[in-house]
């Protein structure tokens, strides 16, 4: 429901003024969380970004892909099916990672990409599991594997 709070807050004139947004008041529509016009009229969309992943892995970027395991819109099996077609070499085999003494999810580290699930999280992982998401983010920034205990 938090999306409806945002709809109210960001349409407040004093909030817009404080954020230097819509300064001339000429945007002809209300601030909204998602634009129906854009979604309905989206033009080019690649069928697959897997070739882009291959390019970026070869460019040496640090790439992490995570998945909240209670999302049924872009679920964990969807991501796993897709990533499996990159045919990556396993560097660290599948293991449960931990946060606060509990299993935070499972992870596998490949050459060029780290995949991790987040237990109990939906589509918006940091909303549903903020602490686990934060552990994940810290590990990503540090370039370290997720904690094994």
């Amino acid at each position: 429901c938090t999306e409806s709070y945002a709809e109210k807050y960001y349409n407040r004139k004093d909030v817009q003024k404080a954020m230097h947004a819509n300064t001339t008041g000429s945007i002809p529509y209300k601030w909204t969380a998602c634009s129906d016009v854009l979604i309905k009229n989206w033009k080019d969309s690649e069928n697959s970004v897997l070739p882009t992943y291959k390019f970026l892995i070869s460019a040496g970027l640090r790439i992490w892909v995570f998945s909240g395991d209670t999302d049924s819109v872009v679920p964990v099996t969807a991501t796993r099916f897709s990533l499996s077609h990159l045919n990556l070499t396993i560097k660290t085999r599948w293991y449960p990672w931990y946060s606060g003494g509990q299993v935070g999810g499972w992870t596998e580290v490949y050459k060029g990409l780290t995949f991790a699930t987040v237990r109990g999280a939906g589509h918006e992982v940091p909303l549903f599991q903020p602490k686990r998401a934060f552990v994940l983010f810290k590990s990503f920034l540090a370039g370290k594997e997720l904690p094994k205990s």
Binding site: Y5, Y9, V65, T79, F81
Partner: protein, 266 residues
């Protein structure tokens, strides 16, 4: 021009948001024009790190949709420092804000999302992946000129859902740009994406498999979807649509598809 850019940065400084608790970090927000001719301008919100921001990396957050707002989701529900209370009268702090570890840049992208706008209305009807990536690159180059302290800074991109397209696509054109421009100001180190749209065919197979393995749909419906849907086709057929419709409307029940065990918002 340096002093003009410095002035632009200071004009973007947020002194305080209505209902905001006291905080120790700086915030800036405003517009960066990405296409003069069409009048396309993207809105950003920077929440700097809560300690030693000059030593922390910069993380750009992009939301999905396509057409959804980083301010709405990334900043206000997920990784940003503030949460909005139920009456939208005040803000409270997120204990696990990612700005404890990084400077967070939320971008409303493409034009038409949130506060971002275009003066050319047809832009709203012909947006797509390519222009989104191109505009985001121009945004970054111009934004870093306004905030020179972030030039050459360790830089990461993050996002979710349809940003599974935006994030790697932006990363790719930055890599391409950096190959052409030695000493580029964008020091891209990597990216992280969650529940990300990746491949239409494999994502679709995996999604239906998830529905079945999590007992959200019956065996009959699972078989029916697999029999009638050709996920490699550009358009779905009516029998495929019917099978998926049956799953969603007769078998899922009244659930939040984005978090299947969470209560739905009434």
């Amino acid at each position: 021009s340096v002093s003009l850019l410095q002035k632009e940065k200071e004009l973007d400084r947020i002194s305080a948001l209505p209902g905001q608790p006291k905080v120790a970090f700086s915030q800036f927000s405003g517009y960066v024009t990405v296409n003069q001719e069409h009048g396309r301008a993207l809105f950003y919100w920077l929440t700097e790190a809560s300690s030693l921001p000059e030593k922390k990396p910069l993380v750009l957050w992009l939301n999905g949709g396509p057409g959804c707002s980083s301010v709405a989701y990334g900043a206000s529900e997920e990784i940003g420092p503030f949460r909005i209370n139920i009456t939208a009268s005040s803000l409270f702090l997120n204990k696990y804000s990612w700005n404890r570890e990084a400077n967070l840049l939320f971008l409303e992208s493409p034009a038409g999302v949130g506060f971002s706008y275009t003066n050319t209305s047809s832009d709203l009807k012909n947006s797509g992946d390519k222009r989104t990536a191109q505009d985001a690159l121009i945004f970054l180059l111009r934004w870093m000129s306004r905030f020179p302290g972030y030039k050459y800074r360790e830089f990461y991109i993050a996002g979710e859902s349809y940003a599974g397209h935006y994030v790697p696509q932006l990363a790719k054109i930055i890599v391409d740009y950096n190959k052409k421009h030695s000493n580029s100001i964008i020091n891209l180190k990597g990216f992280i994406v969650g529940n990300a749209v990746t491949d239409n065919y494999y994502d679709s197979i995996g999604t239906v498999t998830y529905w079945w393995t999590h007992s959200m749909i019956s065996d009959q419906t699972y078989k029916s979807i697999l029999n009638h849907c050709n996920f490699s086709a550009d358009k779905a057929t009516k029998p495929c649509d019917d099978a998926v419709y049956y799953a969603m409307n007769r078998e899922f029940g009244d659930i939040d598809q984005y978090s299947i065990y969470a209560p739905t918002c009434t």
